[in-house]
């Protein structure tokens, strides 16, 4: 079936090129309606009498005309990135978008002309490199509602393939093959039923069955497409001549190979007539070098040994973790002592803050030696995998002095993971582990493996890109644990 279509389309394409040369782009921009490969048969009948009024035998003649594919600009919608901007240097980013056919039959659509402002990115080695898959044509069908069709309700249920259930959509028959393929549609395709496919008021459904007349009866005939899983049950009134276009998805995979701000635009063109295209963008992609800071704070559970206020220095000298009624504050100094003092037997609580300035950070792990003259307090390790660090008047990293506040992004306590049974002799956690006096942690979010720092076979967690810098917020992860100071109080 495909090869016969191809032969026909090759001939049509040649004619199309000629037409393009004659008419220019505007002529091809008209959205087509009557389905390609439909056969219009005109039959004329003649009756007459002889001179005596005796009826003579009826004569007839007929002629067939094949409807050509008219390449039409596809609709591009829902252009999205699979990750938040900015993205980290050398990370892979996928740009996804829907392509909906507005042609009157099967055509392929592919990406071309990927540009950053005015610079082509195709083959670029300094900015982004589009993935080759984006240039492979995506075949999409197209047709229109046949005469006498008016649909106001749509089946939203899931029907069995190959049954005459769901909503029946009457379309012109094509002269290609049997019922398995019709105007480029096959079972399980998603098609957009609309006066203008892809705009407000359209209906997207799945094809579950196609019924076409026998090949010899296809001229002037209609076929039926049964659809289900429609995204609306009622609403638009669809009738004769309204467009039906298949919807598919194309992705552009890009890899940022240099720190840059990309303003990406691209074209999606018709395989049949590459001059017929739709442009999309710009999509802004900021490629940044990752920049993760680590800070260590401490507090004494014996509050009398904590300083009365944060010291001065740059950037922040205190860390406060939202904890509901009683927030917890930790201290540090840019040099020298933190201001926290201890008595023998006191319990100290350390907080290790991982603060993301730029880009998605992955495979994050922490190792920290338990210092001399202290002992790890069993079961005290707590990991806050992902939280928001709020600066006051600037991002925490840019604040001079003051306090960096850790919360869930809405002023409440962040989600914390407490793991029982973590001690310096037993492996009890999936992400916190002790090895000869060193605490090892798969920090960040979604880390795995007890031995990320132990045997290198597992993965650390990730900390998202700092997407809220404009409101002085950055993504962060915090590990706290307690030690007891040797001696007796």
């Amino acid at each position: 079936m495909k090869s016969s279509i191809h032969k026909q389309r090759t001939r049509i394409a040649q004619f199309g090129v000629l037409l393009f040369a004659l008419f220019g782009f505007a002529e091809l921009a008209v959205a087509a309606t009557l389905a390609a490969d439909h056969v219009i048969r005109n039959e004329v009948l003649l009756d007459y009498d002889d001179a005596s009024g005796n009826a003579q035998g009826q004569q007839s003649a007929s002629v067939d005309i094949l409807v050509n594919l008219v390449a039409t600009e596809p609709l591009l919608t829902d252009v999205t990135l699979d990750t938040l901007d900015p993205v980290s240097l050398n990370d892979t980013v996928t740009l996804l978008f829907n392509v909906t056919s507005r042609a009157n039959g099967l055509d392929g659509y592919y990406v071309t002309n990927v540009v950053d402002s005015t610079t082509s990115l195709i083959g670029s080695t300094t900015a982004v490199t589009p993935d080759a898959d984006a240039f492979t044509p995506l075949d999409l069908g197209g047709s229109s509602f046949a005469s006498g069709t008016t649909i106001t309700t749509f089946d939203t249920a899931i029907q069995t393939n190959g049954t005459t259930t769901g909503t029946a959509v009457l379309v012109p028959a094509d002269s290609v093959g049997g019922g398995a393929e019709l105007s480029g549609f096959v079972v399980d395709d998603f098609i957009v039923l609309a006066g203008t496919a892809g705009v407000a008021g359209d209906v997207t459904c799945r094809v579950n069955h196609i019924v076409e007349p026998a090949a010899l009866s296809e001229a002037n005939a209609t076929a039926t497409i049964y659809v289900d899983q429609c995204d609306v049950a009622s609403g638009p009134i669809l009738t004769e001549g309204d467009q039906i276009g298949e919807r598919g998805q194309i992705s552009i995979t890009v890899v940022g190979t240099a720190v840059d701000a990309i303003s990406l635009t691209f074209d999606v063109v018709s395989e049949d007539t590459p001059a017929t295209l739709t442009s999309a963008g710009p999509v802004l992609i900021n490629i940044v070098a990752v920049d993760l800071d680590v800070y260590k704070f401490v507090r004494n559970l014996n509050a009398a040994n904590n300083p009365s206020s944060c010291g001065t220095g740059s950037p922040f000298l205190c860390l406060t973790i939202e904890a509901g009624a009683t927030d917890v504050t930790y201290y540090r100094a840019t040099s020298g002592q933190s201001g926290v003092t201890v008595d023998p037997g006191d319990t100290l609580e350390y907080a290790i803050l991982l603060y993301n300035n730029n880009g998605l950070v992955t495979d994050v792990s922490i190792s920290d030696d338990i210092v001399l003259f202290t002992a790890y307090l069993d079961d005290s390790a707590i990991l806050i995998p992902q939280a928001i660090a709020n600066g006051s008047g600037a991002t925490c990293a840019a604040d001079t002095g003051g306090t960096c506040v850790i919360d869930d992004g809405a002023g409440a306590a962040p989600t914390a993971t407490t793991v029982a049974g973590v001690n310096d002799t037993t492996i009890n956690s999936s992400f916190i582990f002790f090895d000869s006096g060193t605490i090892l942690v798969s920090a960040g979010d979604n880390g795995s493996g007890i031995a990320v720092n132990y045997n290198g076979a597992n993965t650390g967690g990730q900390i998202a890109a700092s997407s809220n810098a404009a409101s002085f917020e950055n993504e962060a992860s915090v590990l706290t644990f307690q030690v007891t100071v040797d001696g007796t109080p």
Partner: protein
């Protein structure tokens, strides 16, 4: 195509006087309208058509030739407007013929100002309303007489949806 009809006339058995009857041979061809550029000007041309694109115009031409040796009378040529095409107003022609139209699938025919179609009306029942050319479903040419050896043609134009 018309040469074929003439050839049939020459070779037809009736031409040697075997049977004394009217015998009309019928043929049809189709052309499409294209616009080409000539000397910087856009020019409309009609070319033989095997395929078409939505929005283009098709002209159907029906040719007839009486290869019999008696006149044919009350000649009626009837052509439904092909599906998914629309009749183009005032495009039907046929020298020496009366042209009538139908908007109800060929049940009723009339001159353009007499062509009606039936619609359902509020409250029940139906009403007949005058049809504009886009609603025409059938075209009929009525020719009083076609003499032996004489020929003619009728034509009309449709717009492909």
């Amino acid at each position: 195509m018309f040469l074929e009809l003439l050839l049939m006339a020459v070779l037809s058995p009736v031409s040697v006087g075997a049977v004394a009857d009217p015998n009309i041979q019928l043929d049809m061809d189709v052309t499409k309208e294209i616009v080409i550029e000539e000397n910087g000007q856009e020019v409309t041309r009609w070319v033989q058509a095997e395929d078409i694109e939505p929005g283009q115009k098709l002209r159907y031409t029906v040719r007839y030739l009486n290869v019999g040796d008696e006149p044919a009378t009350k000649v009626r040529i009837e052509n439904p407007v092909p599906g998914l095409t629309v009749y183009l107003s005032d495009s039907a022609s046929g020298e020496g013929s009366k042209i009538v139209f139908s908007a109800d699938g060929g049940k009723n025919y009339g001159a353009p100002d007499e062509v009606t179609y039936e619609v359902a009306v509020f409250g029940g029942g139906t009403d007949r309303r005058q049809a504009n050319p886009e609603r025409y479903t059938n075209i009929r040419w009525l020719i009083e007489e076609v003499l032996p050896g004489s020929a003619g043609e009728v034509s009309f134009v449709v717009l492909v949806q």
